[in-house]
């Protein structure tokens, strides 16, 4: 298979997920009823399909894609194959922000088209990212282990803060509590899909614009500078793009971990390290992966469900440990 064929294969997997997963769930849907909903007749199956399942699958596809693409970019930016929104604490910080917005209704405000949870998720992502960046910039602090330890700790602190705050709020809000600790797609409707797209698309567009510059960076910052890459500019825009995209995901789905690690690693094994291919394929594969995990979580525990973040952690955590153990004592 040539490189182009491989991209089409990823596209096909993505499309199959979109076509198949809305049919999976507790309620068995009749194809005829779903179809008649399309031509204007109100049916219960059609409601479930179009108002509940389809937005949920779409949200999984877009959120997973955004996390995977952000992970692929962050791995090059930090020159660390273990970097991704969750391991760097960005997902945790953003989720704390989004949770605050949900838990404290008196915080309600809107900033242009952004609502409170988006604004606070952006602030949380930005805060976590600048903390990690300032640690990485200190002499001797850029080491792989330091960076990850800091990132994971920020995630734990955010989780702790979420638990503390949730102790003070009314019990009915605790229903959605899991989502903010582990990440879940249970709150999907068309509005949250819109919320997600509103931040994810600009964030990912920023990352896509850096695609060419990421390749020389793979040979070190000095080499990249010699070959014509403005390293400081690429780093700045990568942080901004990945931060916005991760905040967009966390604002609706909480801190979903390890998709940004699993997908780019799998994609690089298949298409090689050229970031111009890795970025779009990571989006397609990461989306398919998250949507699949979500479908599996709904199907396996039916009529209850396993939060998708729990599944991705169980799948991706071991990969993280394996990569950590395999890594040479590098820069």
């Amino acid at each position: 298979m040539t490189k182009n064929h491989k991209i089409y294969a990823f596209l096909a997997v993505f499309a199959v997920c979109l076509a198949v997963f809305p049919w999976i769930g507790t309620e068995r849907l009749s194809f005829r009823e779903v179809f008649s909903f399309l031509i204007g007749e109100w049916t219960a199956d059609g409601m479930i399909f179009f108002q509940i399942r389809l937005p949920r699958v779409l949200m999984g596809l877009i959120a997973g894609g955004a996390l995977a693409m952000a992970g692929a970019a962050l791995q090059v930016m930090f020159r660390n194959p273990l970097a991704e929104p969750w391991t760097l604490g960005i997902a945790g910080g953003a989720s704390l922000g989004a949770f605050l917005a949900r838990a404290c209704p008196f915080l309600w405000f809107a900033l242009g088209p952004l609502n409170t949870s988006q604004v606070l998720a952006l602030l949380g992502a930005g805060g976590a990212l600048s903390l990690v960046l300032s640690l990485a910039r200190r002499p001797g602090g850029a080491g792989t282990q330091t960076l990850l330890l800091a990132g994971v700790t920020i995630g734990v602190i955010s989780g702790g803060a979420i638990m503390v705050i949730s102790g003070f709020i009314s019990p009915w809000k605790l229903a959605e509590f899991h989502r903010w600790l582990l990440g879940g797609l249970d709150a999907a409707d068309w509005r949250s899909v819109g919320t997600l797209i509103f931040l994810a698309v600009p964030g990912l567009a920023i990352l896509a614009m850096q695609a060419r510059d990421y390749n020389p960076l793979g040979l070190g910052e000095e080499m990249a500078a010699g070959q014509g890459v403005d390293v400081a500019r690429v780093r700045r825009w990568t942080a901004i793009g990945a931060g916005i995209a991760s905040a967009g995901v966390a604002a609706v789905a909480g801190p979903v971990g390890f998709v940004g690690l699993l997908a780019p690693h799998a994609v690089r094994r298949i298409v090689g390290p050229d970031m111009r291919t890795v970025l779009p394929c990571s989006f397609l594969f990461g989306g398919a992966l998250l949507a699949a995990c979500d479908a599996a979580g709904r199907w396996a525990a039916s009529p209850l469900e396993v939060p998708v973040g729990a599944l991705t952690a169980v799948l991706g955590g071991p990969l993280f440990l394996w990569l950590l153990a395999r890594r040479r004592q590098g820069p």
Binding site: Q75, R212, G218, L219, G220, G226, G228, R268
Partner: protein
């Protein structure tokens, strides 16, 4: 192939943080002779000078001008079309193939998402041929020897087709024959019109291949000129101490510098 470029440092001063050490270069220019070597003992500022010349470090005072235009005012991608830079080490994040590494050298010549054009392919093929890695073009970096890896990096810099190429210790940690092969590659491209400036650790290789040497000492220029003028007892004792012995090759009279007990 780009036209030869001229790089000039004027009244440059540079220091790291609050360190007392300082690099002071009143005036220095590169680009007139095919192969210029920067030599000097450890800590004399060779690599620092090269990074300032490449625009990777900004001097505290003074300017670096590429063909009469200050480097600080130009975009990296514009600079890279004229001026190449190869650092001492290029730590690979992923396991690229030789061809991928060489193709990265074409970065400065492409558009945003542009795929390789015939000119790119030609430059990559020529660079691979120049360093003798055509047969290994699909081999991953992790399967190469140290010498082959360094030749792959050099091919990447050659594929960039700058007018002036700066290299930081291109023969570092290579065996004698590998080091000579690398210098041979550079000398051949220099004969074709490329202007090369290399930080050299090995004075004998420098004497053999360079047309001009800049001898640094404690952050300043101790001497510059033809190798036979620079590699003399007078200059070297001052820079390296007197535990040196200087012989001459019987046929060519090129200096040979040896350590003395």
């Amino acid at each position: 192939m780009s036209l030869p470029a001229e790089l000039a440092l004027r009244a440059v001063r540079f220091g790291y943080g609050t360190d007392a050490w300082e690099l002071r270069i009143p005036a220095l220019s590169f680009g007139r002779e095919p192969l210029c070597g920067i030599v000097g003992p450890n800590g004399s500022g060779k690599s620092t000078l090269l990074k300032i010349a490449a625009g990777l470090l900004l001097p505290r005072e003074g300017v670096v001008e590429l063909d009469g235009c200050s480097l600080a005012r130009q975009r990296r991608i514009q600079i890279a079309r004229v001026l190449g830079f190869l650092p001492q080490e290029c730590p690979a994040l992923f396991d690229y193939t030789v061809e991928q590494v060489v193709a990265m050298g074409r970065h400065a010549h492409g558009g945003v998402l542009e795929m390789p054009n015939p000119g790119d392919r030609e430059a990559v093929a020529r660079a691979l041929a120049d360093v003798g890695l055509e047969a290994l073009r699909h081999r991953p970096l992790s399967h190469l020897s140290g010498g082959e890896r360094r030749r792959a990096w050099i091919a990447s810099a050659l594929a960039q087709e700058p007018g002036l190429l700066l290299l930081d210790e291109p023969t570092q940690s290579l065996d004698l024959h590998q080091a000579a092969a690398v210098m041979e590659i550079l000398a051949r491209r220099a004969a074709d019109g490329l202007r090369v400036v290399a930080v050299m650790h090995d004075l004998n290789l420098a004497a053999l291949f360079c047309d001009r040497l800049v001898l640094l000492q404690a952050g300043g220029i101790a001497a510059e000129g033809a190798p036979s003028e620079i590699l003399t007892e007078n200059h070297l004792f001052q820079a390296y101490g007197n535990r040196l012995e200087i012989l001459r090759r019987p046929e060519t009279k090129t200096p040979i510098v040896l350590a003395k007990k």
